[in-house]
């Protein structure tokens, strides 16, 4: 029997104008959330469009834990009603995402969590959150030597010694 977790006790079905969604995390927690909070996610928006086409609403299964999902919902709730340029599919600018102070605090978590959030944000297609996470991850590897970088990134040096010293694997100049 799955546990139903409501993110906000004040939102009971039928009260607000916004409809509710049922999200199911990989650890089988059921989370009820208002639809317009999650409208930032392109993935959820597409699901909702699907519901309207078939006039059937059912739970949305997500491949990550409730811990991560709650974090994403916290992000979406914070920016509820805000317009973020990166999330606009028609106007998304190329290049780096802008620095938002709240995001920096929000993403002040361990590497493991950060990695899970960026994966979740990518799955849910929340561009602004992917951008902010990417910036946070980039900050971790910035200015590090190749050795330190391998350690942080968890990669093995898979170059052969010849390849390592060939100019082509280095700077193009």
């Amino acid at each position: 029997m799955p546990t139903i977790v409501s993110v906000d006790d004040s939102t009971v079905p039928g009260e607000g104008s916004s409809r509710l969604l049922l999200l199911v995390s990989s650890d089988n927690k059921h989370i009820v959330v208002e639809e317009d909070i999650m409208s930032r996610s392109r993935f959820i928006s597409k699901q909702v469009e699907g519901f309207e086409a078939t006039s059937q609403r059912h739970a949305i299964l997500l491949p990550f834990s409730s811990f991560v999902l709650n974090k994403v919902i916290e992000y979406c709730s914070h920016y509820r009603g805000y317009y973020l340029l990166e999330d606009d599919p028609d106007a998304a600018p190329p290049g780096r995402s802008p620095v938002r102070e709240w995001d920096q605090e929000f993403l002040d978590v361990d590497r493991n969590m950060l990695l899970r959030i960026i994966k979740a944000a990518h799955y849910l297609e929340i561009k602004s959150l992917v951008g902010s996470c990417a910036r946070a991850i980039a900050d971790m590897i910035r200015g590090k030597t190749t050795e330190e970088m391998r350690e942080i990134l968890g990669v093995e040096n898979d170059f052969t010694p010849e390849e390592e010293h060939s100019p082509s694997s280095k700077c193009t100049g």
């Binding site: 990518h122 991850i137 190749t146 942080i152 990134l153």
Partner: protein
């Protein structure tokens, strides 16, 4: 816990890598094969690496001709540009027929002005022709634009390519029109709908950022205006009210103005040579640096001075000295940490030349050129345009050397008919030099690199560095040589642009009879 970046979806990976600068990207490239491949496959990341390797930043302002290109196209152009610098050669001669019929007045070089690779010619007092010379290096096509000003009789024009600004001075109604260089329309940032009324019948001699330098031909003062607000911000009073030689003043890019600034023209008739006058601390006397005569020097300012206006907020005043034997030309480009000095003598009577350089301005001499032939006729400084120069053919068929200094490279012409005429290019762009050195270490000896000399004779004024520059010698095309030495009824002017030469043939009326452009 490790990040295990390569397992992330590719677009997330690129999003992360997009936040890194080129140094970190290069470290990532050698970390593992997956990252190496991800970076190599991304055009945007390649572009950012190569841009940084060339020491450039992407253009922050829109292209003056309204051209927009994709990252892929920019990367392609960047690679072409880089290759062009490695193997300089002349572009095919371009005939610039549009110039025919325009005036080339050399009494004041204001009538023939140039900014970057844009030349301005005047015709009939009410019409200007803007000519952009073609260039392989920059990947620009030859373009031209005609701008007309009705009811103008006596005019001067000045351009600033970097700000897309054309200033048209109408002496009859004593005002300056501020136009856009690419279209001829009113400049969007200009004050008062594009008209700066200064109430003086004089021209602008310098543009720098928001500031204009307005010279007084018959007056005793020079004014600095802000062309965006229309305010007069500073007035410089000359020590000689009736000075006939109007000084060439150059504005520093980070020129800031305070009431203590006072420009003093030299009154010492004995002084020879060139002087950098510091606007800010006139009381701190300049230190002298004695150099042998008959040489040209290129200096590179140390990096720490680049953004410190308090250290090097100087103005430059080259002037012809009272001595009939020496003259010089000098300009500075503090934004690029470069200035060059071209020093020469008519007769070998002066043994040394004095540079007046502020005591704590450390300079590194990165190239010193051999003295040119003593019988060479030099053009007096006041006939030199900012950044440009003229070459006058002599009956002896000796040509003078000329120097043009671009952002980070100098093109020096040292042609002589006795030997195979060449143009020597000293490329001291730090990134290009660094990569040439790296190639040389890899056994690729396609470039000549010279170690920069130092001029630390007393060990105090100059920092000894290991700066080097790439030297390339480009043979002068036969046709170009022919034009330069022609003694036909027409006079031939040669102008040096950033990366090329424009040859203008004039008739007796100072009208352009023909024009050609060679670019390298």
């Amino acid at each position: 816990m490790v990040l295990n970046l390569p397992k992330l979806p590719e677009d997330v990976l690129l999003e992360i890598l997009g936040n890194l600068d080129f140094k970190d990207l290069i470290s990532c490239k050698v970390a593992c094969k997956t990252l190496n491949k991800a970076i190599d496959d991304s055009v945007a990341l390649q572009y950012s690496i190569e841009l940084a390797a060339c020491g450039m930043v992407d253009g922050l302002c829109p292209h003056p001709e309204g051209l927009d290109s994709t990252i892929g196209e920019r990367l392609r152009q960047l690679r072409l540009y880089d290759m062009a610098w490695r193997q300089l050669r002349w572009a095919k001669q371009e005939t610039l027929t549009h110039l025919v019929g325009f005036y080339v007045s050399t009494t004041l070089s204001r009538n023939l002005c140039r900014s970057d690779d844009v030349l301005v010619f005047l015709a009939g007092g009410s019409k200007a022709l803007l000519q952009r010379t073609p260039s392989i290096l920059r990947g620009v096509q030859e373009t031209h634009l005609e701008v007309s000003f009705q009811d103008s009789q006596y005019c001067e024009a000045l351009v600033d390519y970097s700000q897309n600004l054309l200033i048209w001075t109408d002496r009859s109604i004593r005002c300056h029109h501020l136009r856009t260089l690419s279209t001829g329309e009113t400049h969007p940032l200009a004050c008062n709908r594009g008209v700066l009324n200064t109430g003086r019948a004089v021209g602008i001699t310098g543009i720098c950022g928001d500031y204009l330098l307005e010279d007084a031909v018959y007056g005793s003062n020079v004014r600095v205006w802000n062309w965006k607000t229309g305010n007069s911000v500073y007035e410089i009073v000359r020590s000689h009210p009736y000075a006939t030689d109007s000084p060439w003043l150059f504005l520093d890019p980070r020129f800031t103005i305070s009431k203590s600034n006072r420009y003093q023209e030299p009154s010492d008739q004995e002084s020879v040579g060139l002087r950098i006058i510091r606007f800010r601390e006139e009381e701190s006397g300049p230190e002298d640096l004695i150099r042998p005569a008959g040489q040209s020097y290129i200096f590179l300012l140390p990096e720490f001075l680049q953004h410190r206006e308090t250290e090097f907020s100087c103005n430059v005043s080259p002037w012809r000295s009272a001595s009939p034997w020496a003259s010089g030309y000098f300009h500075t480009d503090p934004a690029h940490r470069v200035f060059s000095v071209d020093v020469y003598y008519r007769v070998d009577t002066v043994q040394s030349l004095t540079f007046h350089i502020p005591a704590h301005t450390f300079l590194s001499c990165i190239a010193s050129l051999p003295a040119t032939v003593e019988s060479t006729v030099r053009v007096p400084w006041n006939q030199w345009g900012p950044l440009g120069s003229r070459v006058i053919p002599r009956p002896t068929r000796q040509l003078k050397g000329a120097l043009v200094q671009g952002a980070r490279a100098a093109i020096i012409m040292l042609p002589s008919l006795d030997i195979a005429p060449t143009v020597t290019v000293f490329d001291y762009h730090p990134q290009r030099v660094a990569r040439a050195l790296a190639r040389q270490r890899n056994g690729d000896n396609d470039t000549t690199i010279v170690r920069g000399g130092t001029i630390a004779e007393n060990g105090m004024d100059v920092v000894e560095t290991k700066l080097s520059c790439i030297v390339q010698e480009v043979p002068v095309p036969g046709k170009l040589m022919e034009m330069m030495t022609s003694e036909a009824m027409f006079r031939v002017d040669t102008m040096l642009c950033e990366d090329g030469i424009v040859i203008i043939e004039e008739d007796e009326m100072n009208m352009v009879a023909g024009a050609w452009a060679y670019t390298i």
